[in-house]
């Protein structure tokens, strides 16, 4: 049953990704991207990353997607006529992608990733202290106790990114 869900939503994600790259109209690309993001969120749920799945829907499906659609409409991108969809160096780029794909396939073929090093079922409910807790609670424990400094650095990063975006987008 679970593997069926995986195949269905994995196919959705790949189809959405192809839609992003191949669509002529950026508006359709954005909608395909949204479909791909939501399918990947379902795949997060399958690996017991419930908090990450919800964050994926909120941040990608809500925030980033609205940002993209907003800019597409602001710039009237969907009315600009694109005569040539792809750049001039398409052949070299595709060769590079094929080389990367070959390296990845070789790794997937030779390395056996499957044996679990620990029992995955212990991960579902066990928190840092071995107490029973849900995924969000466990993530919060780990984030605020072990990774507090990276968390604060990330907040500074977001502040800098916001200020940069405001300054870039300001009328001169």
């Amino acid at each position: 049953m679970e593997i069926l869900v995986f195949y269905v939503f994995g196919t959705f994600a790949v189809v959405g990704a192809f839609g992003v790259v191949l669509n002529r109209n950026p508006m359709y690309s954005a909608i395909s991207l949204l479909g791909s993001f939501l399918s990947v969120a379902v795949l997060f749920f399958l690996r017991h990353a419930e908090f990450l799945g919800i964050v994926q829907v909120f941040v990608y499906g809500g925030g980033i997607m609205v940002l993209f659609l907003f800019v597409i409409m602001l710039v009237n991108l969907y009315q600009l006529r694109e005569t040539n969809l792809f750049g001039t160096n398409t052949r070299g780029a595709l060769v590079l992608v094929l080389v990367v794909a070959a390296v990845f396939s070789y790794l997937l073929w030779t390395v056996d990733f499957d044996p679990a090093f620990a029992d995955p079922s212990s991960f579902v409910t066990a928190g840092p202290d071995g107490a029973e807790m849900g995924n969000s609670e466990a993530v919060a424990w780990t984030l605020y106790r072990d990774y507090l400094l990276p968390f604060e650095i990330a907040s500074i990063f977001l502040l800098v990114a916001m200020m940069g975006a405001v300054i870039l987008g300001r009328k001169q």
Binding site: L43, A49, V59, F68, F86, L94, F113, F117, A118
Partner: protein, 102 residues
């Protein structure tokens, strides 16, 4: 049918990564290039989540949160650059932005 293994996730994320990379390298429209970058970052998240589950270690999920954070900042700044480029050149094609080319 069998269970979902980490290899399933690795193959899917590798396919998404390759599609995103092809989009970054070949498309001319800046906004589609930004969307492809989001695809690539998302496929990395998929890998992190799969290994986090396999190793029973939440660190992978924490790392995925930071990746999402970086993706959000990158999208905001990238779209700001796109608006600046459009204001300057009235186009979003990357071929037209060759001022800095040596």
């Amino acid at each position: 049918m069998g269970d979902i293994t980490t290899t399933h996730y690795l193959i899917l994320s590798f396919v998404l990564f390759s599609i995103g990379l092809a989009g970054i390298l070949t498309r001319r429209n800046l906004i589609v290039v930004l969307m492809s970058i989001e695809l690539v970052l998302n496929s990395v998240n998929l890998n992190l989540i799969a290994f986090s589950y396999q190793l029973s270690d939440l660190t992978g999920q924490i790392f995925a949160i930071f990746t999402i954070c970086v993706a959000a900042g990158e999208a905001a700044v990238g779209l700001g650059i796109l608006l600046a480029l459009y204001r300057l050149r009235h186009t979003t094609e990357l071929d037209q932005a060759t001022e800095l080319r040596g």
